[in-house]
């Protein structure tokens, strides 16, 4: 198209927008085509020419500024085979929330695969997905630059070469191997970061926490962020350092909390101290007690009674008040020492019964062996199967067929599936979804057969994760038992 035609088209376009004949404005060659027809026909002919010129003659021009994102990093492990993607998408669709979706992703990662980025992407704030996805989290965060995960060790000098998620993973690893070096890095770099990042960095101190970390954590009592101060206080409490909770609107919250616990004695010959939750008179009291349990530290509560952490856990009367049991379990998980956490988990699992289920609140801090013991205890007990879905931080793909046949879990599942209680059946759907995450490949396949024989429809969506698990045999990590 020549310049005259362009000018003519622009004038005709303006004229048509407002309305009116354009014949006089048309380029000469176009006028010739429009010919000597009626005025309306001439306009239509010119319109047809203009339409084709706009469609073919003019090309869309690129805007001056077009921003391209950095390339999405290709992750090291192989991508899930194409044939399994429909099953994976079905499992992701069935997973009701982000936590359950991460469980699907974790199961796949445990078998040595990563997901296709169009099937699932971690959120920027994701801290629970497998470490292998750190480069994608950093990419999501929109970090510009070249390197995503340098191979060299994280140091003060190359700190900025690591993107946040990669740095978080490197620091967590470092805390496990060289806790002091990691602490010094955090100590040097954290003050320059914003509160949110500072909080995430201090949170990493929980790995390999020792008394050597206490001075640094104490120094955080003057941090600008209330959340950082609170977290540092929790970590100090885990080390046995007494703190003082803030922002609970009372002079001595520990004393107030202690008033909700009755100290007593039991036994005729050897008098033993007992700690029993006091009877509450109103929902307001219940709420206040929950607030206090949430904000006070275990070590301070123990000290209030002149006891140690092991003493207060050992003498706590579990079973007297379920809500109080849950609250103290959460308190131990948040601020108890490692020894207190394991003591409480071991005690509850050994005693069995309903209180054993409160270990679920401790799972984020339990070692792998104890987590498995806990899961097995739930399966053996069978009365509280639903708790299995609430446990956090459990590894994928280890639960063997023996674990299911040792107790009464299979008969219990068969009974519920064959029953008519819809609520119970929905509970089984949840349990089967969790089993899909926990079981080995072989166990997943056998469990599908078992529950289908019991009456679960073979195509039930609750079996999707089990089916994915059973199909995920390649790149197996060798955990099948």
């Amino acid at each position: 198209m020549n310049e005259l035609e362009q000018t003519g088209l622009a004038a005709m376009r303006d004229c048509w927008i407002t309305g009116g004949p354009t014949f006089d404005l048309a380029p000469a060659a176009w006028k010739e085509i429009a010919g000597t027809a009626s005025p309306d026909e001439r306009e239509r002919r010119l319109l047809a020419i203009a339409a084709q010129v706009l469609d073919i003659g003019l090309r869309p021009a690129a805007p001056k500024v077009l921003k391209r994102r950095p390339p999405l990093p290709v992750l090291a492990p192989p991508m899930l085979p194409e044939r399994l993607r429909p099953l994976l998408r079905a499992a992701l669709k069935q997973a009701a929330d982000a936590r359950r979706k991460v469980r699907v992703v974790t199961l796949v990662a445990s078998r040595g695969f990563v997901l296709h980025p169009m099937d699932w992407m971690p959120a920027v704030s994701d801290q629970n997905s497998p470490d292998v996805y750190a480069p994608w989290i950093d990419w999501q965060a929109g970090v510009e630059g070249q390197a995503h995960a340098p191979r060299e060790k994280l140091t003060e000098e190359n700190w900025d070469d690591f993107y946040p998620a990669a740095r978080r993973i490197a620091l967590a690893d470092m805390r496990r191997i060289e806790p002091a070096a990691a602490r010094m890095l955090i100590e040097t770099k954290a003050p320059g970061e914003v509160a949110e990042v500072r909080l995430a960095l201090i949170e990493l101190m929980r790995f390999g926490l020792t008394l050597e970390d206490a001075p640094f954590l104490k120094s955080l009592s003057t941090d600008r962020s209330g959340k950082v101060r609170e977290l540092a206080g929790r970590l100090l409490a885990r080390l046995g350092e007494h703190g003082r909770p803030s922002d609970v609107g009372t002079d001595d919250p520990v004393a107030e909390l202690a008033a909700f616990v009755s100290e007593g004695k039991s036994g005729f010959i050897r008098r033993r101290t007992t700690y029993t939750p006091a009877k509450l008179k109103s929902p307001a009291q219940e709420q206040r007690r929950a607030e206090l349990f949430e904000t006070c530290n275990l070590v301070d509560l123990a000290a209030r009674f002149g006891a140690t952490e092991p003493e207060i856990i050992g003498a706590w009367q579990f079973g007297a008040d379920n809500n109080a049991d849950i609250l103290i379990a959460r308190m131990v998980a948040a601020s108890g020492s490692d020894a207190a956490v394991t003591q409480m988990a071991d005690t509850l699992v050994t005693d069995g019964g309903k209180p054993a289920m409160f270990v679920v609140h401790l799972t984020p801090r339990l070692d792998s062996r104890r987590k498995r013991v806990f899961i097995r205890s739930i399966l053996k007990e069978t009365n509280y199967l639903g708790v299995i879905s609430l446990a956090e931080g459990i590894e994928a793909g280890w639960l063997g067929w023996d674990d299911l046949t040792n107790g009464q879990v299979l008969p219990a599942l068969r009974s519920i599936i064959g029953g008519t209680d819809d609520a119970m059946r929905r509970g089984v759907d949840d349990v089967l979804e969790t089993m899909g995450f926990l079981t080995t490949t072989a166990t997943a396949a056998r469990l599908i057969d078992e529950v289908v024989a019991a009456g679960i429809p073979p195509a039930a969506p609750s079996l999707t994760l089990l089916r994915l698990n059973a199909a995920l045999t390649e790149q197996s990590s060798g955990t099948d038992t």
């Binding site: 407002t18 306009e43 047809a48 203009a50 073919i56 077009l66 950095p70 390339p71 296709h116 195509a459």
Partner: protein, 465 residues
């Protein structure tokens, strides 16, 4: 498989359904029949009257079912036929290790009911498989005079239709002239009302296809930024002028008749010796399902010929009433199959029917190398040379990437593009796509927006439709 003919008899809504189902039990009607015994599922694809086969899945444990056909009978004849085959020829079903996406999709959405005993259902006594198997006695042999009368009536109807369409195009011409006189600014603002009015008039005058196209102009304009709409209006109305002129010069041209009045039936296309036939391997690039203002849902399935040296496409197009509810997709994007397609005769053949599905082809491989695609819009220009009234052109784009402008609109741009061409993309783009270099991309270009269908990348095939 847990079917017997009594169960099917009981499930059938009426005797007519059983009769229709019996005609569909021929193996040749079912390019695909598969089963997964572990999940107690059977499924298949039945070649119905549409260009897409209908997809049917049945849960043999509780007799739950789903078919993609628009029938309002439940179960439909396709479902009954699938059950019938399961009952009488279970060996027809090939064992499948996994279930296709569309089956999974149905499983995820369905609500399970308690399995019911296959006892007699109300009304079951009134239906009979035996009766359905009786030969159809309704067909009466016509005598020669009757044939002549029928053909004369057909010729009369065709002549009436042509006169009506001609009058419709006269009205359209006048309407376009009016819009130009009143100003396109006002037309853009009131396009919904004005287009509806002329579309209704065109329907009255038997220019049904053209009416449907005009009815969609407002939504196509509204999909653009306000400053782009006048140019888009010029393109839309200008193409209508060209189409009307083309029809006037060749009113019997099948392509033009199809675009202005009504389309041929499936049977007419299959029987047409001039219809181009291509047997090849096809990949489902993607699907577009749009609800139109006339109450129909258009379901477009775009296919790529994997054996052609140059990019060749096919479009399977079906319409069904929106009131029939959501339909499952007939094909999953990425599916590959070997099939003989029959194209509707036209200057740039695109719309097609699956005449024969020969089998599946392994998915996952890259597209053929179509050589260096210098100008991404060359195919558009070539298509418009022959048929300037067409709106959408399928394209294979060379390696490129998606970028954002300062208003957040996504653009496709070729790598190291010497032409400075960037094409704006319709709708929102998945943010993940902004970080993926596209090896090649398949898309539809309508002169203003690019509608991405699929792409190749280092992460494998990307489904973008």
């Amino acid at each position: 498989m847990e079917f017997d003919l009594k169960t099917i008899e009981a499930l059938a809504p009426d005797q007519a359904s059983l009769g229709a189902a019996s005609k569909l039990t021929k193996r040749s009607n079912w390019p695909r029949l598969e089963r997964n015994e572990q999940q107690a599922l059977i499924w298949g694809e039945c070649q119905g009257s549409g260009s897409n086969p209908y997809r049917v899945v049945v849960d043999t444990s509780d007799h739950g079912y789903k078919c993609t056909c628009p029938s309002r009978k439940f179960p439909c004849k396709h479902t009954l036929a699938l059950m019938w085959i399961a009952a009488t020829a279970p060996a027809s079903f090939a064992p499948a290790g996994s279930t296709p996406d569309w089956v999974n999709d149905w499983l995820g959405r369905r609500r399970k009911t308690t399995p019911q005993a296959a006892g007699p259902m109300p009304g079951a006594a009134a239906k009979s498989i035996d009766e359905a198997l009786q030969p159809d006695e309704g067909a009466v042999v016509e005598d020669a005079a009757a044939v002549e009368r029928r053909e004369a009536a057909q010729r009369k109807r065709a002549q009436d239709t042509r006169s009506a369409v001609s009058a419709a195009l006269d009205e359209l011409d006048q309407w376009i002239a009016d819009q130009l006189r009143l100003g396109l600014s006002g037309f853009v603002d009131a396009s919904s009302e004005r287009c509806r009015r002329i579309a209704a008039r065109l329907v009255d005058l038997k220019a049904t296809a053209l009416a449907g196209r005009i009815d969609e102009i407002p939504s196509r304009l509204m999909a653009l930024r306000s400053e782009e709409r006048p140019d888009a209006a010029i393109r839309e109305l200008g193409k209508l002028v060209l189409l009307a002129k083309a029809w006037r010069s060749e009113p019997d041209d099948p392509e033009l008749k199809r675009l202005v009045a009504t389309s041929e039936t499936r049977e007419q296309i299959l029987a047409n010796p001039d219809a181009r036939q291509v047997e090849s391997h096809w990949e489902v690039l993607g699907e577009k399902i749009e609800t139109r203002r006339d109450g129909l849902v258009s379901h477009s399935t775009w296919l790529l010929d994997l054996k052609s040296a140059t990019p060749q496409f096919a479009l399977l197009l079906d319409y069904f009433p929106a009131s029939a509810g959501r339909r499952s997709n007939a094909f999953a994007p990425g599916d590959r199959f070997n099939a003989r397609l029959v194209f509707y005769p036209s200057r740039a053949p695109l719309r097609a029917l699956v005449a024969e599905r020969i089998g599946d082809v392994a998915s996952g491989a890259a597209w053929p190398d179509f050589g260096e695609l210098k100008d991404p819009l060359a195919a558009r220009a070539s298509q418009q040379d022959g048929a300037p009234w067409l709106t959408d052109s399928p394209l294979i784009l060379p390696p490129g990437a998606i970028s954002l402008d300062d208003r957040g609109t996504a653009w496709w741009q070729a790598d190291d593009d010497p032409h400075g061409i960037a094409l704006p993309i319709a709708g929102a783009v998945d943010q993940t796509l902004l970080g993926i270099d596209l090896g090649a991309a398949a898309a539809l270009w309508n002169g203003a927006r690019l509608d991405l269908l699929a792409a190749q990348s280092r992460f494998g095939r990307l489904d973008l439709s």
